[in-house]
């Protein structure tokens, strides 16, 4: 298998007519883990939603290619089947649909008709992954995210990630509001995915998660674009100096914050 590749060039995104992402560039390959950091309201989550195809976000210009295919031409489900995955900050609850049914439908959607996953194989895989995340078996039969705590929802996102095995995953503030145990499960799940067939973009506000998932590259995003890129040490520097220090260093003064 060739190593997957995600190329984003000069992406501009607006929400309800308001321009939020203004010239976002990113190149990622399978096997790489990137962190995207930045203050609230700089457009990090907007990049994630736009790449997944949320109907509220419109890409006004730019390009996003997954293995040379134009992501932006695809519908949401096509992007997912092409290999994109977004672990959402606020996953929806779907009453009456069990986690197991949901996952099996999703897996079979990717595999296509006539190539459905055998039920026993599905159950075994699900059991194994749930064990790794220390999730109670009852989760499989619970309705999707209904009545889940914040931490349970995040773990459920990681479970889906592990079951669906995408080429690229974006984790949108997966660590917000998580206690240290939940954070470790998330990290364990992501680290178990590491291979040259899988790339991951971790969107986070805090450096803490990066102690558990070591990024290859760290990008700082401000005012709708990446303003600085470095190695893991950049996150540590940020932790020490704060975003204000970073702004001063980069000579960014006019910080017009935007709604995420």
């Amino acid at each position: 298998m060739t190593v997957p590749e995600l190329k984003i060039n000069d992406l501009h995104v607006s929400v309800e007519g308001k321009s939020i992402v203004k010239g976002f560039d990113l190149n990622m390959k399978g096997g790489e883990i990137h962190a995207l950091m930045g203050p609230n309201g700089t457009g990090k989550s907007t990049v994630a939603s736009a790449l997944m195809g949320h109907p509220k976000y419109s890409v006004t210009s730019g390009q996003a290619l997954l293995d040379g295919e134009n992501l932006l031409d695809m519908s949401v489900d096509e992007r997912a089947r092409a290999g994109m995955f977004l672990a959402m900050q606020y996953p929806s609850e779907v009453s009456g649909v069990t986690n197991a049914d949901f996952l099996r439908t999703a897996i079979n959607g990717r595999r296509g008709e006539g190539n459905e996953i055998p039920l026993m194989k599905f159950i075994k895989t699900l059991d194994k992954k749930m064990q790794m995340l220390e999730m109670d078996q009852a989760f499989a039969e619970r309705y999707v995210n209904e009545g889940f705590s914040g931490g349970e929802k995040k773990r459920n996102e990681i479970l889906q990630l592990m079951m669906l095995e995408p080429k690229f995953a974006i984790l949108d503030e997966i660590d917000s509001g998580l206690d240290i145990d939940a954070l470790k499960w998330v990290a364990k799940g992501v680290n178990s995915m590491r291979s040259e067939n899988f790339g991951c973009l971790i969107i986070t506000h805090y450096q803490r998660l990066l102690n558990y998932i070591k990024p290859d590259k760290v990008h700082i995003m401000m005012q709708g674009r990446i303003v600085k890129t470095g190695g893991p040490e950049l996150a540590l520097q940020l932790e020490k100096e704060g975003y204000d220090g970073m702004k001063a260093e980069l000579g960014i003064t006019d910080d017009e914050t935007v709604e995420a």
Partner: protein, 435 residues
């Protein structure tokens, strides 16, 4: 009125003969005659926002007998699939057209004094007991359709549970129509005496061969003091059948009823469901789901009346509207003066799946007492775009995602039905109708 009188395709001679042929007791024949006279005088019901004047409620074949069968395996597949394992061990009554064709009640329940039989047998063997309850929770004079039910009853079940008898296995009734222009006029009476408990499940279905048939169904449930009744139903009549269904319960002190109604007819339907919480501490839990499809018109009225003190009711209606279907949902909670400490909650949610469909949810609270809790919620909306986006972001196609969401939305009722076969019937129906 005289014009409508001419519309009735049967007269007193026809009905007298029908009753004579069935060897019915006098009191019942007389009620038939009374019903006929009232049907000529009384107007049709006037359901809010649904025009039923041109629905055919009267022109059908009410005498469509079918031969009895000794083995379940002789029944049509449509019926057998509704039963557990088809081993014949369940407590079940099967009606085909206007005949009861198969019946089984366990010896254990017979020994405990439980009666479970079809209408004709109830009139022959338990006439006095049956007369005590027939048309007592709902009035024959309510409107033309209840009067017609009395005049033409050709089917139904009688379930009687004596004091303190608790039946753990569900009791099942199946009604199947497969004669052209068949009309089912069913009248069911369920009586649960003091501190008894039972789960009753009925399924109504028809083969499309029936064509322009009619169903006129009245079910009466008498819940005694401290008794518990769970009443499940799945309606599955074909698209040209016109249905009037009236399910009524009266609940005595500390008694409770749970309704789980899967209202999945393909044809025009007028449904009245009413629960009268008469005794102090009586409780009702009503859950109903429906799917409107094609060009069918439906009107659902769910009514709870709180009379006793500290009575409690919960009403949940969920529906999906497809194609050019049109459904009206009325939820009415009435708390009478003196029903202090009553608690009545109602929720109605309608999911619109097409621009041509129409769905109205009307919440109505009528409160005549100060010391009560009452609440209502009603919404009519489309599939939540965030839910859809979430499912699609996992690679599920839009169509499939919508189906999952709608099926999930209607699932709470499916889960309540106690018989595997009937649960599957409803799940399959939902799948088919949503599909």
């Amino acid at each position: 009125m005289s014009m409508q009188l001419q519309n009735l395709p049967f007269d007193s001679e026809d009905i007298a003969k029908f009753s004579r042929d069935r060897n019915e007791p006098n009191w019942f024949s007389e009620l038939r005659m009374k019903g006929l006279n009232l049907a000529e005088e009384l107007p049709l019901p006037k359901p809010e926002k649904t025009r039923i004047a041109d629905w055919n409620f009267t022109d059908f074949n009410y005498d469509t007998s079918s031969a009895a069968v000794n083995n379940l395996s002789d029944l049509p597949e449509d019926i057998r699939r509704l039963m557990n394992n088809g081993d014949g061990a369940g407590n079940v009554l099967v009606h085909v057209n206007s005949s009861a064709v198969y019946h089984h009640l366990s010896q254990e329940l017979i020994d405990q004094g439980v009666i479970y039989t079809d209408l004709a047998t109830a009139l022959r063997d338990h006439s006095d007991l049956f007369a005590k309850y027939y048309f007592k929770t709902t009035s024959i004079k309510k409107h033309r359709l209840t009067a017609l039910n009395a005049a033409l009853a050709n089917g139904g079940s009688f379930l009687y549970i004596p004091r303190n008898v608790v039946i753990s296995e569900p009791v099942q009734a199946v009604y199947y129509q497969n004669a052209p222009s068949a009309g089912l006029v069913a009248h069911t009476v369920v009586v649960a005496e003091q501190s008894s408990a039972v789960t009753f499940v009925e399924s109504y279905l028809s083969d499309p061969i029936v064509g322009k048939g009619v169903a006129n169904i009245v079910s009466e449930v008498v819940v005694g003091e401290n008794a518990q009744v769970k009443y499940g139903a799945v309606d599955e009549f074909s698209d040209q059948m016109i249905t009037y269904v009236n399910r009524q319960a009266e609940v005595a002190r500390d008694g409770s009823i749970q309704w789980a109604l899967g209202q999945m007819n393909d044809g025009n339907t007028l449904s009245e469901n009413a629960t009268n919480l008469q005794g102090d501490g009586a409780a009702a839990d009503i859950k109903a789901v429906s799917i409107g499809s094609g060009s069918q018109k439906q009107n659902f009225d769910n009514y709870v009346r709180h009379v006793g003190k500290a009575t409690k009711s919960q009403l949940l209606v969920r529906a999906a509207q497809k194609d050019a279907s049109n459904s009206i949902f009325n939820a009415r909670t009435k708390i009478e003066h003196g029903a202090s400490g009553a608690d009545g909650e109602q929720t109605q949610r309608v999911l619109m799946l097409s621009d041509q469909a129409r769905g109205d949810a009307n919440p109505i609270l009528l409160i005549d007492e100060y010391d009560v809790i009452a609440g209502h919620a009603a919404s009519v909306g489309r599939v939540d775009p965030d839910q859809l986006y979430y499912l699609m972001s996992r690679g599920i196609k839009q169509e499939t995602a919508e189906k999952l969401i709608v099926e999930g939305f209607l699932a709470p009722i499916v889960d309540l039905l106690p018989i595997e076969g009937v649960r599957k019937q409803l799940a399959t129906l939902i799948e088919r109708k949503v599909g």
